[in-house]
Symmetry: D4
């Protein structure tokens, strides 16, 4: 129930158009609407260009298509993450202009695309094996209306690869830094910039990497101030948080 609707209700009640019981019931039977946050959430999404996102893993292709259809009907840009080729095929049968980002395991439906905000989100990754996670972050930030700069394969074992990109790193508003194995890259990057660094540990590695735990712990213990961390392989979450930050500082 919006403020307008509530005022309308009260006026009708005062006018005798509706009974005390009915008015009371309307307030009591709709606690969520009274709080207003669900509706606001939806409106904000439309207004600010933050699309609803479908987590594809564990959903059938049919389920995904059905949800995507509902979102597309509302002219919202659609992002489906963690999909298999089966999901992609089913979506593209329905939406001809849907794009399958193979490496990022995503599908996007965004026609026309959202206008891009001025600020840049830099996505760095340490090695080639980290690219799928980095791409998930990049696609997420991109569809949410952000300009994305990719700086891949700049791990700390060859520091010069990173330092060569120093100017680009400096210009970004937010930095998403993706790394597996020992996950040292975010610490080094955070030492070079005064911008928020979102660290994404990946499950790349073997033995005592324990599926990304080594990288995760490394990032949580980063000596670089201002580093925050998301779950292992959670490129989407990092891209989403980066977009939220960039939205704050670069109004469209």
């Amino acid at each position: 129930m919006t403020t307008d609707q509530a005022a309308q209700l009260l006026k009708q009640f005062r006018a005798g158009a509706i009974s005390l019981e009915h008015t009371l019931g309307a307030f009591q039977s709709a606690p969520v609407a009274e709080l207003g946050f669900a509706a606001v959430d939806t409106h904000r999404a439309l207004r600010k260009g933050f699309p609803e996102v479908i987590f594809g893993a564990g959903k059938t292709p049919e389920q995904v298509v059905r949800i995507a259809t509902k979102l597309a009907e509302q002219k919202q840009p659609v992002l489906v993450t963690r999909i298999t080729p089966l999901h992609a095929r089913a979506i593209r049968r329905k939406f001809k202009h849907a794009v399958h980002h193979v490496e990022a395991r995503c599908v996007t439906i965004a026609k026309p695309p959202l206008p891009k905000r001025p600020g840049i989100i830099a996505i760095l990754c340490a090695g080639t094996s980290d690219i799928p996670v980095a791409e998930e972050a990049a696609i997420t930030a991109d569809i949410m209306g952000n300009r994305v700069e990719r700086l891949f394969d700049v791990g700390v074992a060859g520091l010069h690869r990173l330092l060569n990109r120093f100017a680009q790193i400096q210009q970004a508003n937010v930095l998403v830094v993706v790394a597996g194995m020992e996950g040292a890259l975010p610490s080094v990057v955070a030492g070079l910039v005064a911008k928020p660094v979102i660290a994404v540990p990946t499950s790349i590695g073997y033995g005592a990497s324990f599926g990304g735990i080594a990288a995760l712990l490394g990032m949580l213990n980063s000596c670089g101030s201002g580093v925050t961390v998301v779950n292992i392989d959670n490129g989407f979450g990092a891209g989403y948080a980066a977009a939220q930050i960039n939205a704050l500082c670069s109004p469209p």
Copy 2:
């Protein structure tokens, strides 16, 4: 070496004022300055009001006083975290206007304080035991020139405490959400706002909380989009990251 200094050097060399060896040596003996990032970092700190921070734990009171003195000489605001009363006493003997934030285990020296940016950083915590960590975040964000709103003891076991503060939560630019035990608060908060949420797990709890691991894992697996996480009990890190984000969107 700044660009200006480098140009000056080259001009002197061309003018014959300095030798080839000397010029070459200047470039080769100062690789850091040549890269430019260390110097820039320092300048930015002065210009943007992000002070150097002294991690007090493991340092003697004397060491802390010495570093603080050096910073204070440069008219920089000083923040010392993770201190004992011994550190506080030593600092206050030297700096009469230093403030000892007992609950946050911090000392600040900031006279005059930095002007405050317009945006608000909200600091929420789930229970009274989480307040020291929340205060560390608040003091950090405050000394870095941000307006801070404290919303303490709003854990999910009594959801109404949180919903009562809904308006305040909505107005913040960034939210730092501190919680121990199962660490569920950031998920609920992230469902209510479209702003960046920085989650801070605390070591509050017993048994299977394992010193904060339960809260940490809960936050890393948050179903709320846009949640990023810092180390257990790392109020400073969260306050610092929140300040970096707020600095992006609210230029002084």
Copy 3:
């Protein structure tokens, strides 16, 4: 050996109908019966409608059919959990009226079904991926003679979904709350009701969810009073415990 049987035995002995050795042997050769608990257990199962349950995992289809046949001969309702389609097919070849609950990975044979107790067991789950575990709990509680109310996909990321179902939640005698990832739902539910909440962590999630450890720890550390927890993915155990509780308070 029941008390009646024991008294009968002693009387026969005194009457000289049976020898000292035989009497002594009867007491000594049946220690379990003398304790009375095995027999009582069986009788109670028949009388109160708590069926024997077959854990299908690690048993061959033939073994499962054989045990089910034995139970069915005693007119007991049969529940087989953790089955594969192969088990289901083998059982249905033998029992035409057996029902294969595909999502819950269960088979039930209950003709006629047990009469339902008056109280309601509510089964909540946070996301669609948690439904198989929630269904296992629901099928278990149902076949044990309970009315079950399903409230699925009411996770804390969109709190209004949960609050919309507030009335239904309040009416239940017992609540089984199923959630993966950070497992925050039981804490929020326990804050809303004064009834026993049985929390079921699921293995849904990735990275630092560690196959359900994050959800398990979250639930064990729940700040909501009255929350008890079962093993990861143990829908059956939760449904069984809920039925035991409901049986206490709603005599048939």
Copy 4:
């Protein structure tokens, strides 16, 4: 806001006694009351005898006394858990009839005590070292208006100690089973009864008991149906859940 208060408000509004803005504001500024659950919670506590509980750990004696005073003013029974002798002394200075349960590390203020429900809650523990946790469960259940039967030191290493108490075990409505080390007692008890068993792992043990992890895992993996588990050393939680269950089946 109660239903009565809301109706009153609407009537005043219709009568013109208060403005539209004021009425609208009253509904919007009190979302919790509009939802109705917080108030209901409080009323239920008074009506059903489930007192508010103060977790003493991490609170100062003064804080605890202040909260206790507030509760006592409302004639509610008071339970303070995890206290030190300092807390106890402070409380007893203020409340002469407060009782310090030394072994359970609790204080209770309950004058007059709540009337007892008919059903029995049995509290079992495996060894003498587990008694403090078992006592915390017992005190909790007792102050919440339940009759408690203590069966201590009945661990599985000497099975006859347990079997000797068979009759008492059978009579309870709910069983709280407390054990450290390998935590095997709940499995054995659950095999003997058809009532809900709440298992409490304790931190008793050394080496590979890892502060209660061994017992916790043992209980989560119990082969006994109907066993639910609480956090390590969480006697309060188990007593509270047991009281909630017993309240369902034994109306006062």
Copy 5:
């Protein structure tokens, strides 16, 4: 080099039949033989009937056949553990009288079998799923010349199953107790007998059983005196240790 051989060497040297260098070299070039333990080991195996054992996992069928052939040539009984059907088939092609123990995943070649020692080794297991590990222990103890008594499916959830076998349990010299899930059976058994109990955790279970860790920890923390533990699923190790113990007390 045996003592006899060494004495012979010294006599030849004194007799001048061999040179100083040769004698010195013989002692220096055979450090192992000089220690005497390798040779003794081999002899003891032949004399006492403890066969060499081939760990099949990670070896090709050809490798296993080759080692088995070498052992068989020395008229030693052969045990191959952790095999696949492929291994079994390859061995049986070569050794017609080899026996494939399908459930225990072993092959034995023992014609004629070793004479049996008088004492009995009891092998208990908690559930049907634990039988493969229990069988591995049984086959191992059997081929090493021991009489084995199998007591399967006697887990603690139905205590009467175990107590019914009380007499058999009492008669054994050594008890191997196999259990998964919470691994409580060894504690209960150790409380009933004064004989060595060797506990074998199995990987049977799911969720928080963590592949046998729960059972392993339970057994290591057993409150039953005299319980020793082997690796998860290590039926062979338990059978071997039991045979070593039984060999001490029942000379052939």
Copy 6:
């Protein structure tokens, strides 16, 4: 209730000396005695010299003295483990001939000592820091009537120290091998003998020894056949198991 006692009871009943109710009650009120295992246990302890053992940790000096007194009254040898000097002093005030084994943290009261069995139990330990645990094993085995041979500080880093004691190692019936850090000693010892080896991991070490986990895992994964393992620092358990084994093979 022994068989004789039961027969006596039945005869009295037949003779009319006792009533049906009384007879029935006797059988029903003493389920343990009817099973016969508790009593037998007690008698066996007296007959075979296996004393009851008091675990001192977590018991008050008074409690320990009271239990010790009860055992001493029955002329049983008394062993109290894991004591503090306070316990020792309290015991020695009461029992003048009690012996405080400072290093092993034990007290023994055994006057006269049990006659020693012929077989030898060898107690080896890797380093000097492991001696307290090794001594606990030694004192336990000794008071249970066994001859103990101590071989301390024979860790694998200096293999010759172990090989020098080869003859002694060979002569033992059972070997208790105590080691911290990497816990490699049991593997090496088990390769040298054909006797049961009981491995005891200790908490000696730092960093990645994780309080004995490294040693525990090493021993559980030992490549030496016939190695069984007890809990970290559980010298008592190893000494007890060794005594049980030695009792089998060396009748007094």
Copy 7:
């Protein structure tokens, strides 16, 4: 930029051949070259025979071939590790003289091979299952220009196998010791030599070996001085470190 190139640049600037902006830009746009380490690294590789190494896992056959081609063009020896047969086939189609080391899962292209340094690197492994990891170390050390001595299947369960190779062990400059299960071999070897021992834990084992954690912890806690450790199954890393050490002490 080398020193020569920098001097040349400065001279041209002084001669007026290039502008101030260009000169300044050259220094500022090539920070890495100014530091000189990237180039030096490459040159050192050629000069000292340390080849670049391609980690095959997670790369497509095409990617691997492309990188290998680039390295081969520079006449550098090529090592590709962690490959599948698909990678090997693709490489050998392009490079006829490439060698596929099946057991070590490596391909090498080294024609002509590097001249061998005089010192020997000994590669020991405990069991046959550890050979693939040991071979990876051996191939790595070999292609880097070292003489390698293989001592396989010398685990501590049969100590004489190791002691028999004592002379060979003594002669090596560096020892790579590979072991799974309890990982005890490096401790024993380090007790026998005064040379650097590089320990490689393998994932060989089952149950509580936890995929190599047991061996890893054992090696990190080794009581043998001078043992350093690499990641689980990281034969390449050990071979590489051994080659670096041997290069120090045996100049070609």
Copy 8:
């Protein structure tokens, strides 16, 4: 027994000076000496200047003094690690020229000091809190006759601190790199040099550093080739290994 002693023995035997039994016994009673490795070890220590090292932790001051005295009598340099001030005082009472290295928690007695080898061992550490561990490494390497270069507080958060020391880093033969928290420094250093890097994780950090596990895992997963790792806080082990490597390449 040396070769000379053995030859002498045989000659005496041939000459009839000693009996067959005596000769045989001499060989059999001294297996270690016959192997020759213990003696060789001792001689090598004297000859190459590698002193015996006393691990102080867990030893009484008296024990330490006694062992130190024995070593000092043999004119060997003495190193005692992990001491308390009590140990230091006891040693210095006896040895006036002993040096107490307070920060490194070591005592050394080396008069005259060993001559230094030409090569340099660089000891780097990331932060001031890591200095005690770094000093332990430095003192160890120093007393073993090596020139040590200390480069402290050069962590990756301020990369320029490290790059400023580039020349010194390049000149070292071996590098010991000490770091806590995320432990990223060894990866960065290994990318800059072609020399062996020994990484030492420290327990510096809090929360998810888990007492050094984060740093340990980071180092084990280092993407820098040639990094080997020692136990958490094991400065001694790293210094020792570095000395062994430097001894290979820089003969005195």
